[in-house]
Amino acid sequence: MLRFIGRRLLVAVPTLFLVVTLAFFMMRAAPGGPFDMDRKLAPAIEQNVLARYGMNRPLGEQYLSYLAGVARGDLGPSLKYKDKSVLDILKENAPISLKLGGLAISLAVVLGVSLGVLAAAWQNRPGDHVVMAVAVLGVCIPTFVTAPLLVLAFASKLGWLPSGGWNDGAWRNLVLPVVVLALPQIAVISRLTRAGMIEVLRSNYIRTARAKGLPEHSVILRHALRAAILPLVGYLGPACAGLLTGSLIVERIFNLPGLGRFFVISALQRDYTVVMGMVIVYAVLIVLLNLLGDLIYAALDPRVRLS
């Protein structure tokens, strides 16, 4: 078990190295720089500013010192926000994204599994068809379509919910972004659950449970569900990656001060260190979530051996 975790983390090192390297050189290849203003800086001042951030040195040297910093856990200062380090900025914004993502994935799992179980129990009856039709729509309709449509309906026309803003995480501000983020995942999870459930319901031990005279809800909830949601665990990693992508759109539309929104703004402003820091955080998150998914999977399914 520990050896498995250790090996997976070792494999992640070249991935993260590649991520840092690619992001570093792509960012530096971009035209313009963080200190471009409407009015051009005097050459002497510009030199001073560059020297202050070590950006007057050759690119290769800067790259190496950045790598050394990352290895020590130091992501450097922000180039746009004076007196703030990249870590400060991440600490301010990450909790907002995490709260959104956490709520969205919880909602998606609870609703998705319930709908999938219901659809499987009603297999090929009208209820099943309705759930699956909604799931197809959920998979097909992208976040950037659902978000404005829901804002138009619930914020502009009905006025039930605010159209955006964080407002210290008040629940009324959270409803729409969380729902928008969760919708595609609800769709996928309900399809996976339904498929798993239908397969499990055909197996012998379920027939035994029914033969013993157990009531149907007990057969489904206590016996079938555990085996049926196994494929779901493997999907959690990709689901979280999908949430990260979705958060880029959702945070922009709802004007939430999270990581996703910051990423695009910082890239456009050429705030090199902040962009790099965020790419690294995302890459680490993806690696860890995938690892976590594999571990849970192995813990739940005795047939899987970690090697």
Partner: protein
Amino acid sequence: MRRLTKGTGRSVQTMIQAARGRSLWDDARTRLLRNKAAVTGMTVLAALAVAAILGPLVAPFAHDEISKAEVWLPPLTDGHLLGTDALGRDLFSRLLMGLRVSLAIGLVATAVSLAIGVAWGATAGFVGGRTDETMMRVVDVLYSLPFIFFVILLMVTFGSNLILMFLAIGAVEWLTMSRIVRGQTLSLKQKEFVEAARASGLSDGQIVARHIIPNLLGPVVVYVTLTIPAVILAESFLSFLGLGVQPPMSSLGGLIADGAQQMELAWWLLVFPSAAMILMLLSFNFIGDGLRDAIDPKDR
């Protein structure tokens, strides 16, 4: 097999010939045409494609024709079927243009991913051994990159350039394709009919051409129908963030982004492009599902 051994009236030879009358693809076509959702999807998609190709030629207005006097006209006024936008441009004409751009991006970027993915996967699968391991390790590493961030960085770095976007999105999407192709090649290599072909004296090249590629085609076709909408989504995503196709050209994603900003004043700018997008993605989805069911009969 059971029917063959029972064939007493007719000779086994004629029964084999009778069975040969329907190829795998004939079967698949019949099954596909019996699937209502897939046929509807194909019809809708064909209509959208014709509209995208011919539409801009027959549209009553140019997609970039600005008219200060006709700002934000609602649908069905003054010959503007779907209304006009903030600059007085005809939404119907812009929608046809956007549809054309989105479909073109979908096709080209998918072709890029198809070429890279099939070449990579087939080589790894057929050569096998250490080559296979190295090539697949590369795919694993690339898989765990947060790609959408790199595409965003790429667009920021080099400006929004159509060709670059094709390449970038195509380069992201080939990974899954190469995995599918490799897996198929590996398992096909060990199938009895390949062994039989080898035993009857076919060369490697003939085996690849006659047995491996035709059997590879099924999953690849299915995955292509799923890649096209994924690519269209990726481009629309970039356009929505303002990093995709630049005005006055527009993709569906760009139109939706414009519409989302003006939806309080002009709902039609959001609703019609969104509807076109949903219709297109649904069609692709139904076709993909139908193809999968049709081509892979054991998986139903």
